[in-house]
Symmetry: C2
Subunit: 248 residues, 2 copies
């Protein structure tokens, strides 16, 4: 009983050096984290559609767990804006906030202008080869008309540039920010024709990085991402129930 007080007093006023860097492991694979990962994938892939209700109890029984870890997962998804919680009413897959999409694309553009510019300053030959390989993989996916592989290679290219720049955290941030845009783009069946354009634009970016021309790389990345903005607001009445439209 009295052991509690000394423990707290010993560490509260000033963490002792011995407390630094214990070999504690951060929380590993919990039921909550597993459910979170699964649910997030279902939401981003639109397997669960915008506006659709989500039942905590149903998921809990499906996973054979209680509602507690399910709730933890859903609360996290709520913070990300992927679901909306209405007290005593229900949890619903959030509709895509089209009005907010342009700003998130601009955020991404701002951040990737920086990674492209810095990558052009720092890229090593081996890193350049990796980026070339990624583009090549994208070409193959385009030839095979494999949308999924194309998209994966696309992400890898952008992540790779951030890596080369030495800013992997920037890519992680982008992943968080662009989630609604990803949902939107999955709705508008990506046109095959755009694929070769994307590859060409990636090629321009990489060429500038290879020549260590930061400003050109930045500009190439900027115009590449500006294409995203153009594609927004084309399909409006297509699936109106999926979008969070202003009250017209």
């Amino acid at each position: 009983m009295p052991s509690r007080v000394p423990r707290k007093l010993a560490s509260a006023p000033r963490p002792v050096a011995s407390r630094i860097r214990r070999n504690r492991r951060p929380r590993g694979e919990t039921a909550a984290s597993r459910i979170y990962t699964d649910l997030r994938a279902e939401l981003v892939s639109l397997a669960r559609r915008p506006g659709e209700p989500i039942s905590e109890a149903q998921i809990a029984t499906a996973y054979g767990v209680s509602r507690t870890p399910v709730r933890e997962a859903i609360l996290k998804l709520s913070d990300e804006g992927l679901v909306e919680i209405f007290p005593q009413s229900g949890i619903f897959v959030s509709r895509i906030p089209i009005a907010a999409l342009p700003e998130t694309i601009i955020i991404r553009k701002s951040l990737e202008e920086t990674t492209a510019r810095t990558a052009a300053e720092r890229a090593s030959p081996s890193q350049l080869l990796d980026l070339h390989a990624t583009i090549e993989r994208q070409r193959e996916a385009c030839a095979a008309k494999d949308r999924e592989a194309f998209h994966q290679a696309d992400e890898m290219f952008h992540a790779g540039i951030a890596e080369v720049a030495g800013y992997p955290g920037i890519w992680k941030l982008i992943l968080q920010v662009k989630v609604h845009v990803d949902r939107y783009r999955r709705l508008t069946l990506p046109q095959i024709g755009r694929m070769s354009e994307v590859i060409a634009e990636h090629g321009s970016i990489l060429a500038a990085i290879e020549k260590h021309k930061p400003d050109i790389a930045r500009a190439a990345m900027a115009s590449h991402l500006e294409r995203l903005l153009d594609n927004i607001s084309e399909i409006q009445t297509l699936n109106p129930e999926y979008f969070d439209q202003p009250t017209w």
Copy 2:
């Protein structure tokens, strides 16, 4: 009993139009949100010091609630990186990750270069007056040597520029990203001398915005925020237990 099935089947395959925009209110002031807000303030203000343990049970009794809402708040803080959870061991105020600070400053710089540039394109006379007022408030705080008011006005200036640019979401994102830098800066007692420099730099930014010179505004903002980078890594051995240092 049979009412459950029809309700689910009716909405699951396709959200019906009638379900759009009910007058449901999002979750309001819950016990969890109150505790989250309080705890976050304590963490950012360093009232709870890096490395210090946090007891769920203790907070629960302090607020007169159960562990559940406390846990919800702490999980959210864990996602933000303000606390670290070690299973079956304890929850601890996260140490300041100095190695990650430069990248977060660069993120902020990238984003605010955009807000400054766009603000210079769009600023209306009334908005310009607001920004001038904010700088004036900062001058008064400087004269009064009121650090807290100075810092508040500083935040308001940057938030105002994002607002003028039409990108309030960018400022919200910056608020999330810069939290560890804020903790760091609170540790290094902000030098009074720097205040007048900050005011001068803000003046340069605003002047460029006023003249609708996007590139100059962007550059002024960039150099303003680059000063943040200089101030890092000065105090290392000052309070080593507060920092998450590489294992030297």
